[in-house]
């Protein structure tokens, strides 16, 4: 093949891959539109959600994170810990965007164990921004004694849950940048309690029996920004919040990545022409 032919072939294959990826995305989108995913042995494939943090230019929606935090705070935190997240994180860039004063006030509403003091006693004091969210139970065993199973810690939950993507979808996921299986799964679970007579039946949970009974109901959490107070809305908001809790540097990562990739592409183009110029003096190239 001539050098020109080789470049042409390379371009054609890149265009082909993009077309393939776009086609796969279209198939994927249609499939979830009419809910025609093949029923998997472990449960149904969670429908794909549209997320503000999807894609190379994606980022968290601050208002959604604030609503999601409210759902976590009012409902989930009764049973689920958030051990790896500190109050101060709520004020960090790329997060829910609470002010320092708000974070300070919020932390002070929690009682945190500290000590030992000068007399050797452990004591409780109001939380500070540098503290992590105190867990609802002192240890997983205590939670298990109450519920029969320890509710999982929620810090990494949105990255620790997934579902298999059959061939060839998992190939296309690398090109379409589908990384949100975790939050999609959480939304599916929260909307999957479809047997009113059995609060532990879940359409999307492997085996269909989940230890957690239906946690959210319409109108349960009061929103102040006019967003719909429905389970559908709550589940999306809290899944977004949990994805932030698991991946707090997502905004920074994608923004830096964009600059790095642009730099590398420009660098590669310059090197390509440099290489061409250097090799042009050699006959046969």
């Amino acid at each position: 093949m001539t050098p020109r032919g080789r470049i042409l072939a390379g371009l054609v294959s890149v265009v082909g891959l993009c077309a393939l990826a776009a086609g796969a995305h279209a198939v994927d989108t249609n499939a979830k539109g009419n809910g025609s995913y093949p029923l998997q042995a472990e449960g149904q494939m969670p429908p794909r959600q549209a997320w503000s943090f999807h894609g190379p230019l994606g980022g968290f929606d601050q208002e959604q994170l604030q609503r999601g935090f409210k759902v976590y705070h009012d409902v989930c935190s009764t049973c689920h810990s958030l051990n790896l997240v500190a109050f101060r994180d709520l004020a960090d860039a790329g997060g829910p965007g609470f002010s320092e004063a708000q974070v300070k006030a919020l932390a002070a509403t929690y009682q945190v164990e500290d000590g030992p003091n000068d007399s050797g006693q452990m004591f409780k004091r109001p939380g500070r921004p540098s503290d992590h969210f105190p867990p609802p139970f002192p240890n997983p065993e205590a939670a298990k004694a109450v519920f029969g199973a320890a509710p999982p810690d929620m810090s990494d939950l949105a990255k620790a849950r997934s579902f298999p993507r059959p061939f060839p979808l998992f190939i296309f996921d690398a090109f379409t940048e589908y990384q949100e299986q975790g939050p999609d799964y959480i939304v599916a679970i929260l909307n999957g309690f479809t047997h009113p007579d059995d609060p532990n039946w879940n359409e999307y949970f492997p085996g269909h029996h989940i230890a957690m009974p239906k946690p959210l109901n319409d109108g349960q959490v009061q929103y102040t920004d006019g967003a719909p107070q429905t389970v559908q809305q709550y589940s999306r908001d809290v899944a977004a919040f949990l994805y932030w809790a698991a991946e707090p540097k997502l905004d920074e990562r994608k923004a830096l990545g964009f600059r790095v990739v642009i730099f590398l592409i420009v660098f590669a183009v310059l090197l390509y022409f440099t290489k061409k110029r250097i090799w042009s003096g050699v006959t046969g190239h």
């Binding site: 190379p56 790896l84 994180d89 999982p152 810090s155 990494d156 990255k159 620790a160 849950r161 997934s162 061939f167 996921d173 690398a174 940048e177 990384q179 299986q181 975790g182 492997p206 698991a246 707090p248 540097k249 920074e252 990562r253 994608k254 830096l256 990545g257 964009f258 790095v260 990739v261 590398l264 592409i265 660098f267 590669a268 090197l271 390509y272 440099t274 290489k275 250097i278 090799w279 050699v282 006959t283 046969g284 190239h285």
Partner: protein
């Protein structure tokens, strides 16, 4: 790294240094004037890419080691501390974990390039075997490193792989206990795995030096598979191959950056974001993607000892390629039948990789066994016997002729 150097020191300092330690001359001869075959294509840029990846893994790894805690009670939280609180810790960790995948991706291309163009044939056997040793060290390093985050897949992957040694007759259980430092994968295991994970990359670096040394004795193979004969067949390493390797590397870095910044968890397992729990076995224990073909071979053999033997054998067989392949022609470009079997072999390995990622049930078991047989058939039937049936194409008279065409008048 061989032969006399044409380097002439110019400044006072370089003259002084060169008469005491001729290191500048060594660099000059190895990476500046070194004559490379002029027809090397982009598959040959992966050697440079691999050197870069080794350096990148060591640099990010040393930085991560400053924040990581190798203790079974603290390891998981320390990795999360890196991800959340260390400045650019998320970048270091994603660059390191995806860097391992990129390293293996590049080494697989590098190995398959060697097989396709017959780079292992005389006089490059030692160069090839050093490469197989590097690959084995890489596999060990990758496995040890995957244990360190102490997630569910770290723990259970380590348990499954170390348990393989218990298949050895008589001393198997004793060896496994010795590897673990106890009666299960635990804190002692994590500590020694961390120590070894820090050690092995420097052993890789040492073998890489030998690999490059051996390369510079024989020189690179090339797409025609015939040896260079005159200076018309070669071009100096600098600037021709520094710029070509550089361009290849930057293109590779775009792929690497795509993984690090946009799909950092694509190749990982969600279960590894759950802290290791010895009391809870995940439903499917799957190793990292780069071990999957060998994992499939392991599970395709109904006996444990047989499976372990075949799995390690499948890797070690690569060291014997120079003697298994009986064809005097190196490059597959001139071997029409070998070329077909080469691509069938590549398809077999990818197929085994897919089988390795699936639960061992139903059709996957049968498919895995068929592919395992065809994997070994490539080494024991195709390579030794194919030359008896194959009529190679006519080789060009020289590398220069293959690039410039036969010396006929008026041909560009």
């Amino acid at each position: 790294m061989s032969g006399p150097s044409s380097y002439v020191p110019k400044s006072g300092f370089t003259k002084w240094l060169d008469s005491r330690l001729p290191i500048l001359g060594l660099v000059h001869a190895s990476f500046i004037t070194f004559p490379n075959p002029r027809n090397l294509n982009y598959w040959w840029t992966f050697g440079g890419i691999l050197s870069f990846m080794l350096a990148a893994q060591i640099v990010t790894g040393v930085a991560l080691a400053m924040h990581y805690v190798p203790n079974s009670g603290l390891a998981f939280a320390s990795v999360e501390h890196i991800m959340r609180d260390v400045n650019y810790g998320w970048l270091l960790r994603y660059a390191h974990s995806n860097g391992a995948s990129m390293f293996f991706f590049a080494v697989y291309i590098h190995i398959m390039r060697g097989v396709y163009y017959g780079s292992y044939k005389a006089p490059r056997e030692v160069l090839w075997i050093l490469g197989v040793i590097i690959y084995l060290l890489m596999m060990a390093t990758g496995f040890l490193g995957y244990t360190l985050p102490w997630g569910q897949m770290s723990f259970w992957g380590a348990t499954v792989i170390t348990s393989l040694f218990s298949a050895i007759p008589l001393v198997g259980n004793a060896i496994t206990t010795w590897l673990w430092g106890g009666y299960a994968v635990d804190d002692a295991t994590l500590n020694r795995f961390y120590a070894l994970h820090y050690l092995l990359p420097f052993m890789i670096a040492a073998v890489v030096v030998l690999h490059v040394w051996a390369l510079h004795v024989t020189g690179s193979n090339n797409p025609t598979g015939i040896e260079k004969q005159s200076s018309k067949d070669t071009l100096p390493f600098h600037p021709y191959f520094t710029v070509k390797d550089g361009f290849g590397l930057v293109c590779f870095l775009i792929l690497y950056a795509w993984f690090v910044f946009y799909i950092p968890n694509y190749l990982g397992d969600a279960d590894n974001y759950i802290q290791a729990n010895p009391l809870q076995t995940p439903p499917h224990i799957v190793p990292e993607w780069y071990y999957l073909p060998f994992y499939a071979i392991l599970r395709s053999i109904p006996s444990k000892l047989g499976g372990v033997t075949c799995m390690f054998g499948a890797i070690l067989l690569f060291a014997f390629l120079p003697w298994l392949d009986r064809s005097p022609v190196r490059s597959a470009n001139y071997r029409p039948l070998f070329r077909i079997f080469f691509w069938l072999f590549v398809a077999t390995v990818i197929g085994l990789g897919y089988i390795g990622s699936q639960p061992p049930e139903g059709g996957f078991i049968i498919a895995g066994r068929i592919l395992t047989i065809s994997y070994f058939a490539f080494f024991f039937l195709v390579l030794p016997l194919l030359p008896l049936f194959e009529k190679p194409k006519k080789l060009p008279a020289s590398i220069a002729e293959s690039v410039l065409g036969a010396p006929a008048p008026g041909k560009a």
